[in-house]
Amino acid sequence: MKTTTHHFDKLVSKALDSTITEAEGDHLRAILKEYPSFQKRYCRAILIESLFHWEEVEESSSLDTKIIAFPYWAQALSFAAVLICLLSAWLLHDSGSQAGTHDAEVLTANFSERKNTNFPSKPATIKGNFLLGETSSSNKVINKASEYINEFLPTNAINSKSFLQFQDGLAMMSIESKLSTSSMSGIMPLSDGEMMKLSAMEINPVSRNAEIVETLRVYDMTSSDQNFKSVDAVIHINQSFTEMSDATEFVLSLHALSSPQEDSLIQVESSSRTIFSDNDQSTWERVDTSISIPRGTDYLVVALSARKSGPSALNAHHQEFFGDELDVAFLGI
């Protein structure tokens, strides 16, 4: 059997377009079996085809779309498979988590708050500390806040000593000291000698997204009699240099939570602002957001998240992400 490269390429192309007939399929199989040189060409053709799969489906112009844009349902299922993996990794990584010991409830994610500032999100509820199924940024924030509230905010808690602080008469749990680092990866803190280094991103290889959400502060709004009407938050962000020369999406968010029952939290209002960092280690970008504090707010949470999407997300663990000079101001006493 004499086979030309053209004929072989045609068969491979037809196979990849699912237009190959059964007889042609048998022929292709026979060629591959008989000629090792065609095996190599076949593998290269396949690799080229598969690499396109990882390219961006669309130019990522739409900030108001969901974080994870699935081309079709199959990838959503694929995401679910890997989600189990990554959620497990996250739970292991996160020393404070108590996976499996609490009631789980799937939360409704609200990605719409990603864009722009200051519009409310739909209420989301959580019971216990463990979240299964959805891992939207809001869910992660609420979940973590719930954990902190249980562990640190009661002023008599043993663990609270190092994390509990007071601001404007409000008891506040902050993990900034836990994330604190001096200059590293060529990045100097903005003013004093300390800055915050965010934890490693969680990577979803199938949807090619990576994200880390840090719940930086939780304020116990019931700890003061003062009637605050709104709150402003400002932070500066930076990322370590990457050869891929791409930006990282940072989101500063505020979440007003209510606790109608002892073991549940409801998000009554949230606001966020997104900024894309540049790839220059020497500059810090400023991001701010504000929120009106609704009546019945028991806790106010300040969170910072960093996200990457596309091929660079797969290497996100090689990069470091920083925040500095977080300033939260309560207004309207």
Partner: protein, 178 residues
């Protein structure tokens, strides 16, 4: 729920491209290969505890993927073509090595830009937007047969170009590493 370490999830992340290429080499149909990829990822997560850390992760993952392809083929008989694993497996293990994939991707991006404009447009519709030949035919107002032929020529051009540029990109990478 199974526990998966950060290291394990990073390993899994690093071989996604290779794994998908391997599955596609056995089952040359994108959507079916994606189905099998997700099934394989799930199994790999479930079997995390069984992975021997001294072993070759990619080889182990390929073995599981191969089994999943076979299982998929038994379950669904709609695939027109599927290759028995012994035909391409040895070559695939070498060609789909993660480092090689990275080099290949660089070469491909160069070659893609070198395609004539019209071809690049068709390539974008088919490969990046994952449109069917029928849809492309409607969009560019050309018969389906012509689209098939164009796609064959695009693949051939890319294949030849990538093989040529691969040497260049590899030597550049070696130079940077030295």
């Amino acid at each position: 729920m199974n526990s998966v370490s950060i290291e394990y999830s990073q390993l899994l992340t690093s071989i996604q491209k290779s794994l998908y290429a391997f599955i596609l080499s056995l089952l040359p149909n994108r959507s079916e290969a994606e189905d099998v990829l997700q099934e394989t990822n799930l199994i790999l997560c479930q079997k995390a505890g069984e992975y021997d850390q001294n072993g070759h992760f990619q080889g182990w993952a390929f073995k599981i993927a191969r089994y999943q392809v076979m299982k998929h083929m038994t379950k669904r008989k709609r695939s027109k073509i599927c290759f028995s694993t012994d035909i391409v497996e040895d070559v695939a293990a070498e060609e789909f090595d993660s480092k090689r994939v990275a080099v290949m991707q660089k070469a491909l991006s160069i070659c893609y830009e070198l395609l004539p404009k019209k071809m690049r447009f068709i390539a974008k519709l088919r490969f990046k937007k994952e449109k069917s030949i029928k849809d492309i035919s409607k969009e560019v107002n050309r018969p389906m047969g012509a689209i098939s032929s164009t796609l064959y020529r695009i693949r051939q051009k890319l294949l030849d170009c990538v093989s040529e540029k691969l040497v260049l990109v590899e030597s550049e990478a070696d130079f940077k590493n030295s």
